[in-house]
């Protein structure tokens, strides 16, 4: 399939990119890996006359630990770079494992974290992880910058809070620390998963002090299930299994699934429960590892 004709712009600063996006309202779109964008253009699901390549903008690149221990991942970082980053491997092994399983190696080599989040694909595993991890995103335009929770950024299926002339600059993940663990589990029959669950657990004095659970793929949009995390709070060693059982029930109740080629809505609720148990167990194990 031929991609409809467009003009390519290659700005080197956020301000320049933002000006370009503003100059062609409704006709210009940021372009990074093109994994989703070029596909939708080929299929005629979206049409843009101007592609603004954001990969030459230094402010959008790189992975680094910031003061305070937050891990900053630039928007144009590819899935493969995250998968292979020693910093990510040390601090967020669950994210490394997740990224290693995104689509296939070719998509991981070109697709970017920022593109994935901005496209707001319902099947985004990184979005599920970042929701559970309490990550924040930074947006920039010619006007300035703003920062918000991933939860506020993902506004719905294929829809984010990003203004047309804004760029996603980076994602920042709260510090990894003793007593904190992350877990992730998914089931995929095709390129896009049937269901994915991510979990972050904080343990203090032998009991779960905080837990966050997020689901993707099984529902319309990646979602944080706030009540589900709370059912785990207070659980410790011996009664962890009961607490997990309650969390599984709560997740199956709260998640809004739908029928599609991956299975019925009921089946996906079932999967969410199983995957939650797996994700929460590995998060707990990581949190309680000496």
């Amino acid at each position: 399939m031929t991609i409809p004709r467009f003009e390519l712009h290659v700005p080197t600063s956020v301000a320049e990119a933002s000006e370009l996006l503003r100059r062609y309202p409704g006709e210009a779109v940021p372009y990074a890996g093109g994994t989703e964008l070029l596909q939708t253009m080929k299929l005629g699901l979206a049409s843009f006359e101007h592609l603004v390549d954001v990969k030459r903008i230094p402010a959008l690149a790189g992975i680094a630990v910031q003061p305070g221990g937050w891990l900053r991942i630039g928007a144009t970082t590819t899935h493969r770079e995250i998968e292979r980053s020693a910093l990510v491997g040390e601090r967020l092994p669950a994210l490394r494992l997740l990224e290693r399983q995104v689509a296939n190696v070719r998509v991981r080599n070109t697709g970017t974290l920022g593109g994935n989040l901005c496209f707001a694909e319902p099947h985004s595993d990184p979005a599920a992880f970042l929701l559970a991890a309490g990550a924040r995103v930074r947006l920039g335009s010619a006007e300035g910058e703003r920062e918000l929770d991933v939860d506020a950024f993902i506004a719905g299926p294929l829809f984010t809070d990003r203004a047309p002339d804004e760029l996603l600059l980076d994602v920042r993940v709260p510090p990894a620390r003793p007593g904190r663990g992350h877990g992730f589990a998914k089931l995929a029959f095709f390129e896009r998963p049937a269901a994915s669950v991510a979990c972050r657990i904080d343990v203090a004095e032998g009991a779960i002090a905080d837990a966050r659970v997020a689901v993707a793929s099984a529902c319309e949009s990646p979602v944080l299930l706030e009540r589900v995390g709370q059912t785990l709070v207070g659980a410790r060693g011996a009664d962890l299994d009961d607490a997990l059982g309650a969390a599984v029930e709560a997740a199956r109740h709260d998640v809004e699934t739908f029928d599609d080629v991956n299975g019925s809505a009921d089946y996906k609720r079932h999967l969410v429960g199983l995957l939650l148990r797996a994700a929460a167990t590995s998060a707990y194990e990581e949190a309680t590892r000496a």
């Binding site: 399939m1 031929t2 991609i3 409809p4 004709r5 467009f6 003009e7 390519l8 093109g34 994994t35 070029l38 596909q39 080929k42 006359e49 592609l51 493969r80 290693r100 689509a103 296939n104 190696v105 070719r106 998509v107 080599n109 070109t110 390129e191």
Partner: protein, 162 residues
């Protein structure tokens, strides 16, 4: 874009299988288009056209990419390798020999993509487990072989020390 506007052309300078290539292309041209239509390198196949099947896999600076959904301009200043660049002076690589030895292809449509994905793996990692090979080739679809001979061939090439 309305027809009244000038069609944008951009420079593409890269190497393809070690040779310098300089072309003026439209930004919308994919790497598969350029390889097949402009350079006549039809060993790269396009099947799903959606980054799912892996038939169009080529290496960009040694890493596998889907040439069907990569703008050719992304190859600017970089090294592209296709299946045509594997054999040297008519001698097949150990991987290609292993594909023949293990009957790792039937219709052959997926083969160039399989070879390129496996070449990237073999160049990065000398000691491979079956799991490593399966993980690396997860995104390459074959409808003939049932995959076992392909994985066997890659493992044999690793043994042979490609």
């Amino acid at each position: 874009m309305p027809e009244s506007r000038t069609i944008q052309l951009v420079d593409l300078a890269c190497t393809v299988n070690g040779r310098n290539v300089a072309l003026r292309i439209e930004p919308r041209e994919t790497l598969a288009d350029v390889l097949r239509e402009r350079l006549g390198l039809t060993g790269t196949k396009v099947s799903c056209d959606a980054q799912v099947c892996g038939a169009c896999t080529v290496l960009l600076d040694g890493q596998p990419v889907s040439s069907c959904t990569l703008l050719a301009v992304e190859a600017s200043g970089r090294a592209v390798r296709t299946v045509e660049g594997l054999a040297r002076d008519g001698s097949l690589t150990p991987l290609q020999e292993a594909f023949i030895e293990h009957a790792a292809f039937q219709c052959g449509f997926c083969t160039s993509g399989m070879l390129m994905a496996a070449t990237a793996l073999l160049e990065e990692q000398r000691h491979l487990s079956r799991e490593d090979v399966v993980h690396a080739l997860e995104g390459n679809v074959c409808r003939c072989t049932g995959y076992v001979p392909i994985v066997d061939a890659v493992l044999a090439a690793a043994e042979a020390g490609q």
